[in-house]
Symmetry: C2
Subunit: 152 residues, 2 copies
């Protein structure tokens, strides 16, 4: 099982905005540098976060992106659940057609139970807290300059 690259990016953008380094507001460019990810990808993540009501943005010279109250209280589980728009864990139904095993398949319900167990484990984990993991010093998010990470 995997976390989608987009979901991973959304979580990292939220972690960054929840870090002391964010100082309330950041530009998309600064976020892109912070998470060392191309601007366009980060821009899509920001659109997604705005749609979920977790951030708000201000236009103009002093513009930027900042967390809403909901964004400050967000949990990893709630964010991943909100991004998961599919009924089934595997591709049982797709535009190409339904899986041939579908009529008598018990795998889907087993995987749904397992997915729920995965999310439940993360429902209590605050985004604000995960930047302060076991290896953290007093400055919780140590962001290396983007230059130290080759562009993806």
């Amino acid at each position: 099982m995997r976390i989608r690259a987009f979901d991973d990016l959304v979580l990292r953008v939220l972690m960054l905005l929840n870090s002391p380094d964010a100082e309330g507001q950041m530009t998309t460019q600064a976020i892109a540098e912070g998470v060392a990810t191309p601007y366009n990808h980060v821009s899509k993540a920001i659109t997604g976060l705005r749609r979920l009501g977790l951030i708000e943005s201000q236009r103009g010279r002093r513009g930027g992106v900042r967390l809403t109250d909901e964004g400050r209280r967000a949990t990893v589980g709630a964010v991943l659940r909100a991004l998961d728009d599919r009924e089934d864990v595997p591709d049982c139904r797709s535009p190409k057609g339904d899986c041939v095993l579908l009529p008598s398949c018990g795998l889907r319900s087993s995987l749904r139970f397992a997915r729920e167990a995965f999310y439940q484990e993360l429902d209590g984990v605050l985004i604000r807290g995960v930047g302060q993991g076991p290896a953290a010093g007093p400055a919780t998010l140590t962001l290396a300059p983007a230059a130290q990470r080759p562009a993806s």
Copy 2:
């Protein structure tokens, strides 16, 4: 979160070989038709399953693929664990470089706990059993002819 398409295919090939329709042995071609997936993809899944000791194959005119004893006893959890070759759930470390949040990130360990909860939920689920889901009739796997499903 997602199940990778390859893992999904491996599970479906195992479900098919565990079904009464398999009658002990099947050719790769028959499996590909059964799961309505291109031959090349199925061939890779079979290589993976052989490597895991879950199936064995016999060459020649009467050749084909059949389950080993281990393949008959396999659980969904054990198969997905065996296919999961990464330490981290997201892409923390990649050939392109480490994630910049890595030094003080608590997300990885939270996601590892959640992944473990996901697998534990599936450790007791026999592949042999999931073809006999709640919607199953007496013939547990009702495989529609591949022609009914547009080729992917």
